[in-house]
């Protein structure tokens, strides 16, 4: 049973706040704020995936947009084929069932994550950053040049995919779906962090040679973490496509990869609720500053600079103090 220390209290407050905003907005008849909260939940889930690789494993992946976009395209492609009635591959048709889409997103992201990780993890430092970026750009340009699924224009999802027993077209219902998956994703992160695997992953971040001397192969540990990380970000991509009912190559762009890293740094690298804090901060800035100026990202950049210089633990670090793990 985790103790109710300061960080856990902050985490609990964040979880409650995220669910309170859409409930209040629903009561006030303001569905726009429900959509904002859903966006926070989905981006937080994607960043939780990256946090596993970056926060615990020290793997600065600049290519996680590939998994985010792949999840999105799985949702879009399966929905499009379900609508047209044409098979996707090997006679298998599309679907509008979210749970099937999630399973396929996880599988596709995991397989691509395995391939990218198996090659990228043979490098480290700036080479790792560059090679993950290169892979993501390959997927990006592939999507742009694939006219069957919209190419540069992207692909629309005409009707939001369905989940048994839930009316996903209702913003609040769809928010709850995303919220539950976010909490499950954060729970998985917590389980991994507390496990022997998590300890070995963090140890391999700290010193690869020392890890090898206790019989752990850092490559395998990192690859496993990278694949799980890709899967989590992939399912977030599927939800994001359903939120917007649209998927485009912008989900695969390097800016998206950068955004995910920014979310983690803003919230607190390696912190359990860091991605959620970062996503909330990001979406609030986007909404508040974006209403005032098109150059809102300039101000976000300033804030990021301040966080990196003066608050290395991000928002969670500011509110809850230093991390147990550095």
């Amino acid at each position: 049973m985790p103790m109710l220390n300061r960080e856990n209290l902050v985490n609990l407050a964040l979880a409650i706040l995220l669910i309170a905003v859409p409930l209040i907005a629903n009561g006030l008849g303001q569905p726009f704020y429900i959509t904002l909260a859903t966006r926070v939940a989905i981006l937080a889930l994607a960043a939780t995936g990256l946090n596993l690789a970056l926060g615990l494993g020290g793997l600065v992946s600049f290519g996680h947009a590939a998994f985010f976009g792949l999840g999105g395209y799985v949702a879009g492609i399966l929905a499009a084929h379900n609508f047209s009635g044409e098979p996707v591959i090997f006679g298998l048709g599309g679907t509008n069932q979210m749970w099937v889409i999630w399973v396929v997103s996880i599988l596709v992201s995991g397989i691509v994550g395995l391939a990218i990780g198996a090659i990228s993890l043979r490098t480290s430092g700036v080479y790792f950053i560059m090679i993950t970026l290169a892979f993501a750009q390959m997927v990006y340009y592939f999507a742009i040049s694939w006219p069957a699924y919209g190419g540069q224009d992207g692909l629309s999802i005409l009707v939001r995919n369905q989940f048994p027993g839930i009316s996903t077209m209702r913003p609040l219902s769809f928010f709850f779906v995303c919220y539950v998956i976010l909490i499950l994703g954060i729970g998985l992160f917590a389980l991994i962090r507390a496990s022997r695997f998590g300890a070995a992953l963090q140890a391999s971040r700290q010193n690869e040679v020392r890890v090898a001397t206790v019989g752990i192969r850092p490559f395998r540990i990192r690859l496993t973490a990278f694949v799980i990380s890709a899967m989590l970000t992939g399912i977030a991509g599927a939800l994001f496509a359903d939120l917007n009912r649209f998927v485009s190559p912008s989900m695969l762009s390097w800016q998206m990869s950068g955004e995910l890293i920014v979310l983690i740094i803003l919230g607190g690298t390696g912190r359990l609720f860091g991605p959620l804090a970062g996503a909330a901060l990001y979406v609030v800035f986007e909404y508040a500053l974006g209403g005032m100026t098109e150059r809102w990202q300039f101000f976000l950049g300033l804030i990021l600079l301040l966080v990196v210089l003066f608050a290395r633990g991000g928002l969670i670090g500011l509110l809850a103090g230093k991390a147990k793990h550095g």
Partner: protein, 227 residues
Amino acid sequence: MLLDVQDITTYYGSSQALFGVEFRMTEGEVVALMGRNGMGKSTTIKSICNLLAPKSGRIFFDGKPTERMPPHRVARLGIGLVPEGRRCFPNLTVHENLVAAARPGKWTLERVNDLFPRLKERHAQLSRSLSGGEQQMLAIGRALMTNPKLLILDEATEGLAPVIRQDIWKAIRHLKSEGLSILVVDKTLSELLPVADRCVILENGKSVWSGSPGELTVETQDRYLGV
């Protein structure tokens, strides 16, 4: 034969550090690897663990050649290394340091905590916040958690307070009484010689003398160890 080091030569880049080290260890034996500073003791240990691959010569552990194995596989054969300088994982807790390394066998978290009760008291503390002695206990505990057939201690008591040194030596004697094979490098001869079954002396990267502690005369000590 547990460990068989056959005439190894090892280089740091183009600079040769070992010029032919050879010795053997049987199961349950405690071997003291001795020599003045810079004679190749730590390089020999790195070569055994394949952290620094020998250029020539052969190393067999438990009958298996190790020179071509990556370090993690050498460790999995059953070599537990306590490296020089108390190298724990600083940002992990004591508990995490121990479980990260754990492999099935008779050494469990409970037994390590029994051997070093201080670790149990500090289980939730980050290892970087431990005292030097506690970090050394943790490094030994972590190596034991891999359930090694051979424990290698490289300067395990260096720079520690006398009281803590006594605790570490007590633990080493206990491990010996349990039949664990130990290869130990240490400068405290008064503690090292009573626990060792055999001594191997290195000079200028070569093994130059081997025998029991009883055979280690004052002249030999003067000549090779400078004491």
